[in-house]
């Protein structure tokens, strides 16, 4: 009756992301490292979720799989209605482009491109013309409050500004999911607060946000925290809505 239960739950709450007993092994010589053990969780549409865990807990591995950058060995990973498994490189790239926006700790903007061009880059890989994508990119830069910085290169910007550019870039392809990897790790606390405000605002506009972090203050601002230890989900805690408070 499991299929029935799933069908019912699917009709009740639409989920963006569903992991079902996902396992991942790394083979190092004769050893086999069990990086993820039966990882099971669901992220619903519009959720704001933190994934926490010490280093070596399987965070990176999970991030790779969620970002369709790596395959897993068993189980199922569904992104929306799409089963993500054994994709060709081309399909994986296409899904990454359309479904997922990445935000990194070290921003990862292309240094030789202006803020505008950086934001527009995902649309380049969708085959949208330069004029059109620059137009759209300008709108997104305005949304993160950097309209006047469009023609500046990353080296002329502060860390907070760079992260805003990166967030604009993640949003431009209208993804269902933002995957943020320690988005505040390289920022001072005031800037971190602003970036978290921005991510919260984005989440309120209806986009699912998943933040990988080891910072409990950041996790506290999310609606739910998934904790990993030794490749297993040890806790999936729903935060008290009243606990939302600024990172200080």
């Amino acid at each position: 009756m499991r299929w029935l239960a799933r069908a019912v739950s699917a009709s009740l709450v639409s989920d963006v992301l569903r992991l079902d007993k996902v396992n991942k092994f790394y083979r190092v010589g004769t050893h086999s490292l069990h990086a993820l053990r039966d990882v099971d969780f669901v992220v619903n549409d519009g959720e704001f979720v933190a994934i926490m865990g010490a280093s070596g807990s399987g965070k990176s591995t999970l991030l790779n799989i969620l970002g369709i950058l790596d395959d897993y060995d068993s189980g199922e990973y569904r992104l929306g209605d799409t089963l993500i498994r054994d994709l060709t490189e081309k399909k994986a790239a296409n899904y990454r482009n359309r479904f997922i926006g990445f935000v990194f700790q070290s921003f990862n903007l292309l240094p030789f491109k202006t803020a505008l061009e950086n934001v527009a880059l995902p649309l380049y890989y969708q085959g949208i013309t330069r004029r059109k994508r620059n137009q759209i990119a300008a709108q997104y830069l305005e949304r993160v409050g950097l309209r006047d910085w469009a023609e500046h290169t990353p080296s002329e910007m502060s860390g907070g500004q760079k992260q805003r550019v990166a967030i604009a870039r993640a949003l431009i392809s209208k993804p269902r999911l933002i995957l943020a990897d320690e988005p505040t790790g390289a920022l001072d606390s005031e800037t971190s607060r602003q970036i978290m405000d921005l991510l919260t605002e984005i989440n309120r506009s209806g986009i699912t946000v998943l933040i990988v972090t080891h910072d409990s203050e950041v996790a506290a601002r999310c609606q739910r925290t998934i904790r990993l230890r030794d490749g297993q989900v040890v806790e999936s805690m729903i935060a008290d809505a009243h606990q939302h408070r600024p990172v200080a």
């Binding site: 950058l69 296409n94 990194f104 070290s106 903007l109 292309l110 030789f112 380049y124 890989y125």
Partner: protein
């Protein structure tokens, strides 16, 4: 020339193949199925070349990485430049050799009668040898002789026919008189520009006909038609039947050829000959020509009773041997030059691949970012390959042009008899440049493929 051209082509193809192999060997793991992938990528590159957007990406990265761009361009451009200059010089060397040999037939053997230097059959040394018409007839029967002519020296002596007074009306001058058989035409580099040369009927019939050089015609006849007119050579009247010119210059043209039989009769020569001239077929080797010369000398020694080992009795000048020696020398130099040129090309290919590999390593992060944003591996590879192709084409073209310009300038700076009109077959240049572009594309492809496999999260997580 055909040989050298073929040699250049083969050399270039080998150098490129070797370069590509070196590249593939360096990066390892190249398997046949990758050829399909390469074709796919090349398709992508060609499509990319038609879209302005891809060019935008390529120019962006080129602008941003000036040093890398410069290094690649210099290594490719220099390779092509040096190759073009060396090949052109090799060609010039060949031309120079041809030019210095232009005065002489390269298939003739000359036999000049002289004095004996060895006592033989009861005769002492120092005896003067004189050839005669029977020697001509005997030599004519030898296999391997293509054309044969004797020459009667009007004033005796060792060399040439000597000059005689030539007169027409009030105009008179001294000109060289060559009393020869019709075969002499093939020994000289003379060309008939009007009428005909001497023929066997002239010799058999003791005809008083002559073929005059261009300057002789101009002097005696001005703008008049010389054909059928009569001129006096010494005290004998000869009818002009032809006019010749010579590539070897005016000196050679200031002469008149008359039938040898007529000259022997008219100028007191009985049946004497001062020299014999033989030409051999084009395919005759220096060795065969040497053997033929020995046979002719042997016949002469038998009929005139001197030792066939006597080097002085008959002086032999074998142009086949002489020119073959030079030809071999210049051929060897050409081969050397082609080898060096192709070596430079090879170094260029390896250099490009090196720079591409470093460049791709340097760009791992950029590639990771692009992948995270949805770039397919093909689009990554196509971008890098297109950059490589673009750079190598521009640099190759510049090197080609610079090389051709250098070939124009160098002969003007250093005047030399040895190098003449250095130039390079444009097909060779284009092939080399195109080959280098393909090699550059391959050189870019292999590391680009490796780079396209990087896992963005690994490269992007740590600064």
């Amino acid at each position: 020339m055909g040989t050298i051209f073929a040699l250049q082509l083969v050399g270039i193809v080998l150098a490129l193949a070797a370069g590509v192999l070196v590249v593939l060997w360096k990066v390892l793991h190249f398997r046949p199925r990758h050829v399909v992938a390469v074709l796919e990528v090349l398709g992508g590159v060609i499509v990319g070349m038609l879209t302005r957007d891809r060019w935008g990406e390529v120019f962006d990265t080129i602008r941003r990485n000036k040093l890398r761009t410069l290094l690649t361009a210099v290594s490719v451009g220099w390779g092509i430049f040096v190759m073009i200059v060396l090949l052109g010089m090799g060609h010039g060397l060949n031309n120079g050799a041809r030019y210095s040999f232009r005065r002489q037939a390269t298939s003739a053997i000359f036999f000049n009668a002289n004095k004996t230097s060895v006592p033989y059959a009861g005769y002492g040394l120092g005896r003067r040898i004189t050839f005669n018409n029977r020697d001509y007839d005997a030599a004519k029967k030898l296999p391997g002789v293509a054309h044969l002519s004797g020459q009667y020296y009007l004033h005796g002596g060792q060399f040439g026919g000597g000059e005689m007074k030539v007169q027409r009306g009030v105009k008179s001058n001294a000109f060289e008189i060559d009393a020869v058989h019709p075969g002499a035409y093939y020994v000289s580099s003379n060309e008939i520009v009007q009428g005909r040369y001497l023929n066997d009927t002239d010799v058999a019939g003791l005809r008083k006909v002559c073929v005059i050089g261009r300057p002789v015609r101009d002097f005696l006849f001005g703008n008049e038609d010389p054909m059928g007119q009569w001129i006096d050579i010494g005290d004998v009247a000869f009818e002009v039947v032809g006019v010749f010119s010579s590539e070897a210059g005016e000196e050679q043209e200031r002469a008149i050829s008359i039938p040898i039989s007529t000259a022997q009769l008219a100028f007191n020569g009985s049946d004497h000959l001062g020299s014999l001239m033989v030409t051999v077929g084009d395919s005759t080797t220096a060795k065969q020509a040497g053997e033929l010369a020995d046979k002719v000398v042997g016949q002469l020694a038998a009929s005139h009773q001197f030792s066939s080992a006597d080097k002085q009795a008959v002086r032999v000048f074998n142009t086949v041997e002489a020119s073959e020696g030079f030809r071999m020398l210049f051929f060897a130099i050409s081969v050397f030059v082609v080898v060096i040129g192709c070596g430079t090309l090879l170094a260029g290919v390896v250099g490009v691949s090196n720079i591409m590999m470093i460049s791709v390593k340097e760009r791992t992060r950029e590639i990771g970012i692009r992948k995270a944003l949805g770039a397919t591996p093909h689009s990554i590879i196509a971008m890098i390959v297109q950059e490589a192709v673009f750079l190598t084409s521009i640099a190759g073209l510049l090197g080609l042009v610079a090389g051709v310009i250098a070939l124009e300038i160098i002969p003007r700076l250093a005047e030399s008899e040895l190098i003449r009109d250095p130039s390079v077959d444009i097909r060779v240049g284009v092939l080399a440049a195109a080959g280098l572009v393909v090699a550059g594309a391959l050189a870019g492809y292999v590391p680009a493929r490796a780079a396209a496999r990087v896992n963005p999260v690994h490269t992007l997580r740590d600064q």
